[in-house]
């Protein structure tokens, strides 16, 4: 269980004429958990979406487990079947039960028969403590439950790499907690994860490495505790200071 899982080199991407990523190089080792930090608009989310080509890069190369990501349909399906993506807004399918949401990708990607897919989906839901919600529909659940179900859906196909795009940002503080708990649980299982988040506690406790981005570039990266505790770059330090003061502003520190 070692060696390189993801390699991104010279990645540029954007929307219309606006360049959002201005040359990103990043390596992720197998089993590594990386937290990506940065102010809004720094390109974190775009970087994450470029990996399974949910956003088409302008240039640069992405390799996952030795396979180069390309728009060729078969390659793309293989890549997407081996990466799990968790969206900020959960994006579950509202017309299907939680169980169907989690089982469907297994049926389509792994060509599992329905019964088997649902059995395997249920075991993932049980693992995350969501077994009782299997028969419910997404919009009957709280945001936190929906996001945990979305994590279950991404995990069900046993992805080599789990990509999480601000999984707690859309949630109220008390709902964030249960999602963060789930993230810890998933992190402990040794799966490679790339997480865009502002949950500094999680980054400190669970991440192997922290990457700080600003204005479409990686400004600083390194051991999580090091970057969070003693950032080398001024921009990182300023960002962390602002983030912490915002988090601690309730109750007001006198």
């Amino acid at each position: 269980m070692s060696g390189e899982l993801l390699r991104i080199s010279g990645l540029r991407a954007g929307y219309g004429r606006i360049e959002v990523l201005r040359g990103i190089d990043l390596r992720v080792e197998r089993g590594e958990k990386i937290v990506i930090l940065g102010p809004s608009g720094s390109g974190k989310s775009t970087l994450l979406k470029c990996i399974p080509y949910l956003v088409r890069p302008w240039s640069g190369e992405i390799h996952i487990d030795g396979l180069q990501v390309s728009p060729e349909p078969n390659t793309l399906r293989r890549i997407r079947a081996s990466t799990g993506f968790v969206f900020q807004q959960y994006n579950l399918f509202p017309h299907m039960t939680i169980l169907r949401n989690v089982a469907l990708p297994l049926e389509l990607n792994k060509e599992m028969p329905r019964r088997e897919a649902e059995k395997s989906a249920l075991s993932v839901l049980n693992m995350l403590g969501l077994g009782e919600l299997a028969g419910k529909y997404p919009l009957e659940l709280s945001g936190g439950q929906q996001q945990r179900a979305a994590i279950a859906r991404a995990l069900a196909v046993d992805p080599k790499l789990l990509l999480l795009d601000e999984p707690t940002s859309a949630l109220d503080p008390e709902l964030r907690y249960e999602v963060v708990e789930t993230l810890y649980q998933v992190a402990k299982q040794g799966r490679s994860m790339l997480i865009v988040t502002h949950e500094l506690d999680f980054a400190e406790a669970a991440a192997d490495r922290v990457v700080f981005m600003d204005e479409g570039l990686i400004v600083e990266e390194g051991d999580a505790r090091e970057v969070l505790g003693h950032p080398r770059k001024e921009r990182t330090e300023r960002f962390l200071r602002r983030l912490r003061s915002r988090l601690n502003s309730f109750p007001p520190s006198n």
Partner: protein, 209 residues
């Protein structure tokens, strides 16, 4: 007069079915088609929505024979009403598909679904729920529009009402025919409500509040 009811229902069902089939093709042409194809579909829709149904019925029944297409009154009515309804049904279906948010596509893509799978399992099942109330509305409208077929001599409910009035000299009978139309339309709308709640996405209303 009662014999007119099955004829009215037949006219409605057949023209609705024709409208749905053609409407689905037109909607597909607008959503998935190339630019020229989409322009053709759009022109069709604008044409049939922008001209009176009565004129369309007359054109098909009286003008087409001039180029050798001769239809009996019943067939001409079904085709005219069906072609007309297609334009409305196409727009209902198209806007239902368009109403499904971009995130649903992205989510399906992220799970490795193909475009066909995405539409089949994710987009269409949601879109059809969005479209159902409007489609039933269109169906109810057709029940009433079929009365226009009386003008070219189809012996449906309204035509038979007119026979009765001319035999009996009792214009009150028009009111009776209105009641019969109402008796057909009301349960249809009720049925639609039932259908909607049966297939509603659980929690959807709550999520909107």
């Amino acid at each position: 007069m009662a014999e007119g009811i099955p004829v009215t229902m037949e006219l409605t069902l057949l023209s609705f079915a024709l409208g749905l089939a053609l409407g689905a093709i037109l909607a597909a042409a607008r959503v998935f088609g190339s630019k020229p194809l989409s322009v053709v579909a759009r022109s069709y829709i604008e044409f049939f929505r922008g001209t009176p149904l009565l004129v369309q019925i007359f054109f098909i029944y009286f003008s087409l024979p001039a180029i050798g297409i001769k239809l009996d009154a019943f067939a001409a009515s079904i085709i005219a009403i069906g072609l007309n309804s297609a334009s409305y049904q196409a727009e209902i279906l198209r806007s239902a598909i368009k109403s499904i948010p971009e995130e649903q596509y992205l989510s399906a893509e992220s799970l490795g679904m193909t475009t066909v799978q995405t539409y089949r399992f994710i987009i269409f099942p949601q879109a059809i729920r969005v479209a159902t109330p409007a489609l039933v509305n269109e169906f109810v409208a057709l029940i009433k529009y079929t009365s226009l077929a009386s003008i070219i001599g189809v012996a449906e409910l309204f035509r038979r009402t007119e026979y009765m009035v001319s035999y009996t000299f009792m214009p009150e009978i028009y009111l009776l025919s209105a009641v019969i139309y109402l008796a057909i339309c009301l349960p249809t709308s009720q049925f639609s409500k039932m259908l909607e709640s049966r297939y509603a996405i659980p929690g959807y209303r709550r999520a909107l509040v």
